[in-house]
Symmetry: C2
Subunit: 254 residues, 2 copies
C-alpha cells in the first residue's frame, strides 16, 4: 500500500507521500513515490503514485523518456501547454502501461494486478495551480472548492482529520502540520504505510519548490507531533460535553 495526499490551498499546493512498498509483509522496500519537474520561472509539475510499483515506475520512466539516450530525451510534461494537457498525458500513459501489461499476461493475471492511481499537481505561468486525481482507466478528476484535496492508497485512517482540519486559507505551516497528523494516524494503524515521508510545498506563481524535504524516522518534528497528538486529542475529548447516562434529555448541558 501507500499513502499520498495532495492539497490545494489559496496560496499554493502541498504534497506529502510515504515511501513504503511491499509485496507481502516479508518483502518491504523504500521507493520514492513523489517526483517533480520544473522550468524555473515557467512551470512546476509534481506527480505522486500509488499502486503496482512496476506500473508506476514505468510511467515515470516513460515521462522522462529513459528508454532513449540521455541527449535525445525530452519530457513531454515540460512541453504541454496546460495542466489539463499534463493530466491527459499522464492518464494516457498510465492506461496504456496497465493494459499492455495485462494483455501480455492474459487471463492468468488477476484483475487489477497492474493497477495504479496518480495525483498530478502543478502550475504553468499565466494559469492557476491545478490538482488532478488520475484513475487507472486514464480519465481524471480535478480538485475544486468543494473537494480541495485528494488522497490515494491507504486513505481511510487519515481522512477524518483532513475533513475536519482543512481550511482553504490556512498557512503552508498549518497544512504541513495537518498532513503530518494525518500521516502519523495512518502510520500507527497500517504497516503497509511507512517512513520516510516526502514533502513538497509549491507556492502560487513561484515556479520552483518553496520547500522540499524528506522526513526520516526520528525526525524531531514528526516525533513532537506524534507524541503531542495523543495528549492534544485527550484534551479535545475533554473539551466535548460529557455524556450523561441518567439525564438523557439534558446531556447537552453537561
Amino acid at each position: 500500500m501507500t499513502y499520498c495526499v495532495g492539497m490545494m490551498l489559496e496560496r499554493g499546493l502541498v504534497l506529502m507521500s510515504d515511501t513504503r512498498t511491499n509485496s507481502g509483509v516479508d518483502n518491504i522496500s523504500t521507493f520514492r513515490k513523489m517526483h517533480h519537474w520544473e522550468i524555473s520561472g515557467e512551470r512546476i509539475i509534481s506527480v505522486m503514485t500509488a499502486g503496482n510499483l512496476a506500473t508506476t515506475q514505468a510511467v515515470i520512466s516513460q515521462l522522462e523518456e529513459r528508454n532513449k539516450a540521455p541527449s535525445q530525451r525530452s519530457n513531454s510534461l515540460l512541453e504541454a501547454e496546460t495542466m489539463f494537457q499534463v493530466a491527459t498525458i499522464v492518464g494516457d500513459l498510465l492506461r496504456e502501461t496497465i493494459s499492455s501489461r495485462a494483455e501480455d499476461n492474459g487471463p492468468r493475471a488477476a484483475a487489477g494486478t497492474f493497477s495504479a492511481t496518480i495525483i498530478v499537481a502543478g502550475q504553468i505561468a499565466g494559469m492557476e495551480p491545478r490538482l488532478f486525481l488520475i484513475y487507472p482507466e486514464g480519465n481524471f478528476i480535478e480538485a475544486s472548492f468543494d473537494t480541495p484535496f485528494f488522497q490515494i492508497g491507504e486513505t481511510k485512517y487519515g481522512r477524518p482529520i483532513l475533513l475536519r482540519g482543512y481550511q482553504p486559507d490556512m498557512s503552508f505551516e498549518a497544512a504541513v502540520k495537518l498532513m503530518t497528523v494525518s500521516f502519523d494516524s495512518t502510520l500507527k494503524a497500517n504497516l503497509s504505510v511507512g517512513l520516510p515521508l516526502d514533502l513538497l510545498v509549491i507556492e502560487r506563481d513561484c515556479f520552483t519548490p518553496l520547500h522540499e524535504r524528506r522526513i526520516e524516522a526520528g525526525d524531531p518534528y514528526l516525533q513532537a507531533v506524534s507524541e503531542g497528538w495523543g495528549e492534544a486529542l485527550r484534551q479535545a475529548l475533554d473539551a466535548l460535553p460529557d455524556y450523561r447516562m441518567e439525564a438523557r434529555a439534558e446531556a447537552v448541558s453537561g
Copy 2:
C-alpha cells in the same frame, strides 16, 4: 457496510453499533445489529453483527430457536457454562450458516458473498466479563490488555481516535464520548454507515444493562459532539508545535 465497536473497560463493557444496511446505494434500510439476552443476576450476553444481513439474521434467529413454537424455544446462550462456550456456539452457528448457503449456491456465488463477522460480549456470574471477535470461519479471538477493543465493518475511519483516546480505567461516560466521536468520524466519511446508533453499557457484576438506548438523528448529544469536535480538533492542532519551513532543526521549539 456496518460499524460496530465493543470495548472492554476495567469497570465493564461498552458496545455501540450503527443500523444501516445497504445493497447498492439505492437500497438502504435500517436493521438492528445489536442484540442481548440476560438472566437477571446471573448473566448478560450481547452480540453485534456485520456482514451479509441474511446470514446474521439467520444466526440470531437460530440462537433464539425461532424455527420452533414459542413454548418450545430455548436459547443455548443462556445455558452455556462459560463465555468461551458462548463464543463457540455463536462461531459454529456462523460458520454453518455461511457454508450451507455457499454450498446451496455452488460456484455461481462469489467468494465471501454470505460472509459475516460477530462481536460477542458479556459476563456470567462468578467469572470475568469477556469480549470476543468471531470470524466467518467460526474461530475467534479474545480481547486482552494489549487489544482491549474490537471493531467490525467499516473500521478504518474511526480507528485512530480509539487508539489514541482509549484508557482501560476510563469512565463509562468517557468511553461513550470516545465512541461517539469514532462513530461521528465514520458517519461523516462513509455513506454505508448510518444513524440511528444503538448503545449498550454493561457494568461488571451487574447482570442487566446499566444503560441502553438508541441514538437517533438529531440527538442533542450526538449533535453537540459532532459540532464540537471540529472546533476541538482545531484547538488540538493549534496545541501542536508549528512546522517551520526554514529552520528545520529548530522545528520542535516552535
